[in-house]
Amino acid sequence: MSLLKIEGMRVEFPSRRGSIVATKNVNLELAAGEILGIVGESGAGKSTIANAVLDLLDPPGIMPEGKVFLEGERIDSLPLDEMRKIRGRRIGMIFQDPLTSLNPLQTIQHQLVETITTHLDVTPEQALERAIDMLDKVGIPDPSERIGNYPHQFSGGMRQRVVIALSLCADPDVILADEPTTALDVSIQAQILDLMRKLVKETGVGMIIITHDMGVISDICDRVMVMYRGDVVEVGTTRKILGNPDHPYTKSLISAVPRPDKRIDRFPLVEYIEEAGVAQRSIDVKTHWLGETRDFSSNKSEFLLSVKNLEMRFMTYNSILPSRRKYLRAVDDVSFDIKAGEVFGLVGESGSGKSTVARMISGIYKPHAGHVFFDGTDLTALSSRKAVNHYRRQMQMIFQDPFSSLNGRMRVGDIVAEPIKFHKLASSNAEVKSIVGDLLDHVGLGAVAAKKFPHEFSGGQRQRISIARALATRPRFLICDEPTSALDVSIQAQVLNLLKDLQEELSLTMLFISHDLPVIRQVCDRVAVMRNGKLVEVADTEELFENPQTEYSKHLLDLMPRLVKV
């Protein structure tokens, strides 16, 4: 008999304009000691399954069809009081973001003990003992000391360990983990996955891991279920799904994952994606405004951008006496050069200072010390607004979050037109309008997009808008700060293809920032590795991946999930 069994589950979100079907006809079986992965892109209905099992669907979600069995006993129609005895006690759940899933105002001890005493018939002393034991099991050092701490006193990875301890503390039979490592850095992700694998082996629970990350799947899962827009398209062993998938969606999904092991020219065209460009009326850059001879007085130096001894510090403790102030050195003595026409990667874990470097180059932050040379001119020494604008125009930035980087109250056409008007790059409003249309066409959105507002577009489409906006000043240098890390893999593949095309057509120079090594390998010519604000290694991409010189680079490469281990 299987531990957890779902038959014909259908979840709907009724709304005024008819129901939205989140999942339909989901069948699933989980055995004890097994790790089952559910993979799919956003909106595929993965998380909905986990929430529906525990009757935790966000209102107005309902489950009109389907049965859920736990050890042969039907649990989908239990009253709330009965359901509460299953939550945490027999089925535990782990959420995505460890920073928000713990109550910030209570100590870890309070939260653990409350959970244990709710479910198990123990005295508070026994509960405390058990809580300390759990923390020890999930690998928190000095558990009897740290148990009195508040969540904010733990790092992200440690908090996820606490979350795991909380879901395991009443000894459940099944764990539902919803994107348990998505918010974590690679090295922490590897530790957490190790921990989960170990716990499953030791305790014999059954675990369902919901993720969009093929790397996690190949790392830890025994079997995989692939979902596409609410449907289960394929179920099979990990080896079978990753190595020899049957369904075309699975195939295209896997081909869209950037390969860490070798560089390919372009991502194979991905089918099955709703937003594959509408109008592909590309413009000929040779004759178009976009490709016009640029009026930049080039010094013809070898390096378009050079960074010398850049330093940035943020105040962490303020005091009237300058000697007592404390600073965090976010960027410490960083120097590198970027050749004209190359794509330069900057890689590192969160907090390594990569984004801070980008912001100093683009002028958002003023560096504490050091210089930024652009085409031979020291940008940090410029004083007049006019001179600064002249260089700002040549340098544009694409941000990570496609949702907050576009002004939601402006039409897309106005967003793209704004830089053209600001820098007076076109002679008439009519010309601006036609340029905006062409740009939107060129990034694959179609000129009609100009009349819409940003919220009418999906994440990938918004990132295309950001790209069109960046191109609107006819820049020669693009700074891309994690441009695809908020996107699904297939959309990421499209956006990366677009960036590559543009880079070749317009011979752009790019600074490409990412924490994702496979993406770096696919996109960049040279790479700099950063750690704790310092530059660790600069090398050609192929050189770095095949023959890393420093310990830290080796360590990072080792942690990179290998998709194909067949």
Partner: protein, 306 residues
């Protein structure tokens, strides 16, 4: 505080000439000059301001022009009345407002919650004096249960006169306090409700549910405490404004508090009282902000770092 003190000081400089307020029609110019010299009005502005601050710190604000009594005494007479009134109404507002806010957030769709929300809409839109007048009309004039003006009998504790110790004191206090509380209460209900709904959507509440914790523990021990953190600031400021802006209610009920004193002072251009009132209110606000900050510190462990 210093900025407010300067404004209060500036009132003396710009609003009327103190000398002509002090002396009669037939005082000679020499005598006026002599008086000016004695009062230190010929000193530089900075020195005068220094004197003003020095006196203010010791509670010395000079004499009221109108009542010919030291301002210190007047304030000491009136301040207990205002403070008792605002404290009681703040207490009512919190005691009723917080449970109502929590209830409307937890049982959003029940008819009682809908009723509370409708009531709070009425409460927030009706002007204070209108509520006061209706209460007087109903309880004071038609039912004749409660007195319509004054503080009733008070007990003098030497340094403090209180209405809390007599029945008539309580009777007179209850209507103005409710009048003053209603607006604050509706505000608190709406704030708590909005903030609590936000908290109930958060990940840690969902995680608490997924661990099978009891609803009561989730609502009160997890959600309510998190709700209070941002709400405390607003509530603190509101209590400050209760003390500062009890003026309208005090006029409606002829409550012998500072608001009434202030209104009368404005009518008569009684500058020492006005400036003392201004400083005192500023001081109360600073004090309340300090208490709010300390409370923050007690509730939110994240601030206890460093």
């Amino acid at each position: 505080m210093l900025a407010v003190a300067f404004i209060a000081f500036a009132m003396f400089q710009f609003v009327g000439d103190p000398i002509s307020n002090l002396v009669g029609q037939d005082t000679s110019t020499e005598e006026r000059e002599q008086l000016k010299q004695d009062l230190g009005l010929n000193d530089s502005i900075v020195v005068q301001f220094g004197h003003f601050i020095g006196n203010a710190v010791q509670g010395e604000f000079g004499k009221s022009y109108r009542l010919r009594k030291p301002v210190k005494e007047l304030i000491a007479e009136r301040f207990p009345a205002t403070l008792e009134l605002s404290l009681l109404s703040a207490f009512i507002a919190l005691l009723v407002g917080i449970p109502m806010g929590v209830y409307t957030a937890l049982r959003r769709d029940s008819w009682l919650a809908q009723g509370f929300m409708t009531l709070s809409l009425i409460g927030i839109s009706l002007p204070t004096f209108l509520i006061g007048i209706f209460l007087i009309l109903f309880f004071g004039v038609m039912l004749q249960w409660l007195p319509t003006f004054g503080r009733g009998e008070t007990v003098d504790l030497g340094w403090w006169t209180t209405g809390f110790l007599t029945v008539s004191g309580w009777k007179s206090l209850i209507m103005p306090a409710i009048t003053l509380a209603i607006f604050q209460m509706t505000l608190i209900v709406r704030l708590i409700r909005a903030e609590m709904l936000e908290v109930l959507r958060s990940d840690y509440i969902k995680f608490a549910r997924a661990r099978g914790l009891k609803e009561r523990s989730i609502s009160f021990s997890h959600a309510l405490k998190n709700t209070l953190v941002p709400v405390i600031t607003i509530i603190g400021l509101q209590i400050g404004s209760l003390i500062a802006f009890a003026i309208i209610t005090e006029s409606v009920f002829q409550w012998p508090g500072m608001g009434l004193l202030f209104i009368q002072a404005i009518e008569e251009v009684d500058i020492p009282i006005m400036s003392a009132y201004l400083l005192l209110i500023a001081f109360v606000f600073v004090l309340i902000n300090l208490i709010v900050d300390v409370l923050y510190y007690a509730i939110d462990p994240r601030l206890r770092m460093n």
